[in-house]
Amino acid sequence: MAERTLISPAQLGRPRGKAVYWGVLTLVVLLFTLVFLGPLYWMVTGGLKTAQEFAESPPTTVPRSFHPENYSHAWNVMQLSKLLLNTLYYAFGALAFQLVLDVAAAYSLSKLRPVFGKVILGMMLATLMIPATVLVVPQYLTVLDLPVFQRNLLNSPWVIWLPSVTNAFNIFLLKRFFDSIPRELLDAASIDGASPLRTLRSVVLPISRPILGVVSIFAIVGVWKDFLWPMLTLPDPNKQTLNVGIYSLAQGVPENWLVAALAMASAPTLIIFLIFQRNIMSGLTAGSLKG
């Protein structure tokens, strides 16, 4: 039996304790399923109902008749394929930029230790102290007319990709992981004549797979969930993300179609989560506190 908790095992072992335990457990499982899975069930089945049945009160638990065509109508009318592809493009682009640039930076700060490395890390971490929403306005003005390059980044994928690199928290997580890789391993590689890049590729990255998984999932989910920034910087309806596109189309669509669209928009991250839930949970609890 695992480590004991609040309630003593002796108390649990008695017949009365057992009965209470199983009773409470059943109650909690039912309640949680209702509260957290219920809305999802309501959403998926709501998308299958007719418009009349959808607006009924109290709602039917099982649709009287199934209308999967709501899903295909919603898919076509709201141009979900385009919104979905846009979001995937932004999310995986942001992931690529973060994996290359943030991993390289964390590796350099942790293992190559350049002059001013501490100052640079400090300045990166300082950005965590500034409330993110405060920076939205000056960031928006900056991407309107990027200094030096004199480019307007609105409606271009760069406006999502490049700012996503400025994730001090990810760099910090990666650096802490790299710090835990023993020095001798890297020295051995460098005695064998490996360049820093080669060492990163053949020694550091293979060991770091768990943390890379966590950072990747956070990167994708971050773009998937973001709302304010893409709403401001991608005004062109053809370039929008799922969140923004659905929000701006929500008014003119029948409600049962809209709910079907919501179900389809939620599916990708939920599936990612169900596949990688073990990594996400461990990453969350390992890293989230040491900000």
């Binding site: 003593s8 350099s108 929403t133 920076l135 700012p163 400025t166 304010l228 900000g291």
Partner: protein, 317 residues
């Protein structure tokens, strides 16, 4: 207490004749330059991104707050922007709303996950399933969760009024009434966001040594006293860290009220400070005012951020 030295460099000065020969020194210098070049080339991409999208906007936020831009001309106006926003009645309403949201969100969003974590932690079965359920809403796109809640809150056919009706309780106007709009936003926001906190509490609870509970039982402590005297002191650090984190996050709330009540709500009852910043900047084109508002928020949150950083540094050592 170190011996006084005249040298200003942090390396001991080599006496001229005992150091390595000049060629070796030059070689070491070349090697260090080369090492630094390669180290900095690994850093440059991220540093440029930070420079353009974090550090420069940070400086710009401060400048903007004291400037006015009209017809493409930027003039320095000192404290005029701050003066302007302080005299805007919407400013005080937004702060009252934001503080109300923060208070309610802490009451629900801080307490509920802790209680849920304690409950889940007691079970020997179904723990994985319960953990999964609690975290599920975090993975939904916010537009999906928000529109779901909009349907649930609907005064006509909404699920919540259906439940109240079933329980013979008075039905509510939810988002449509000034007295319940903010609470409705907080309930939705708590459902959407509490998964992360719950998992962190669970991890902390699992680190409490069981002997402490045994000792408390020998002293005759009941369930509540065990929570009060063992569970809470043992998780104090994580509780206070998450409390600070949630204060910082909830005072910046934007997406939930923006999507649920179009930002303002009935009679402006859900206008938050960040929504006001958004309005100043993107509806009124008053970037100076927006920056001034941002600066006020920044100053108020700086203390919490500093406390958070200090506390998390202490927890490392």
């Amino acid at each position: 207490m170190s011996a006084p030295t005249l040298s200003t460099s942090d390396k001991p000065v080599q006496p001229p004749h005992h150091g390595p020969p000049p060629e070796a020194r030059r070689e070491a210098f070349v090697r260090s330059v080369r090492r630094n070049l390669s180290a900095h080339s690994f850093l440059i991409g991220a540093v440029l991104c930070f420079a353009f999208f974090s550090w420069y906007p940070m400086v710009r936020e401060f400048l903007l707050a004291f400037q006015k831009t009209e017809g493409g001309k930027t003039t320095w106006v000192g404290l005029d922007n701050l003066d302007y926003v302080f005299h805007d009645p919407a400013f005080w309403q937004a702060w009252r709303n934001t503080l109300l949201f923060t208070a309610l969100a802490l009451l629900l969003g801080f307490l509920v996950p802790f209680v849920i974590a304690i409950v889940i932690n007691e079970f020997r079965h179904a723990q994985g399933y319960l953990r999964l359920l609690v975290y599920l809403p975090v993975m939904l796109p916010p537009v999906a969760s928000v529109l779901l809640f909009k349907y649930f809150y609907d005064p006509g056919y909404g699920l919540f009024n259906g439940v109240l009706h079933f329980l013979h309780l008075p039905e509510q106007q939810w988002l449509q009434s000034t007295s319940t709009a903010m609470l409705s936003v907080v309930i939705a926001a708590t459902w959407m966001n509490m998964g992360g906190a719950t998992l962190i509490y669970l991890a902390a609870l699992q680190g409490i040594p069981g002997e402490l509970y045994e000792a408390a039982e020998l002293d005759g402590a009941g369930l509540l006293r065990k929570i009060w005297h063992v569970t809470i002191p043992q998780t104090r650090l994580i509780l206070s860290l998450l409390l600070l984190m949630q204060i910082i996050a909830t005072m910046q709330v934007f997406t939930e009220p923006f999507l649920l009540t179009n930002g303002a709500g009935p009679e402006g009852s859900t206008t938050t400070v960040v929504y006001l910043i958004y309005q100043y900047a993107f509806n009124f084109n008053n970037y100076g005012g927006a920056a001034a508002l941002g600066l006020v928020l920044l100053v108020l949150l700086a203390g919490f951020s500093a406390a958070y950083v200090r506390l998390s540094r202490d927890s490392e050592s």
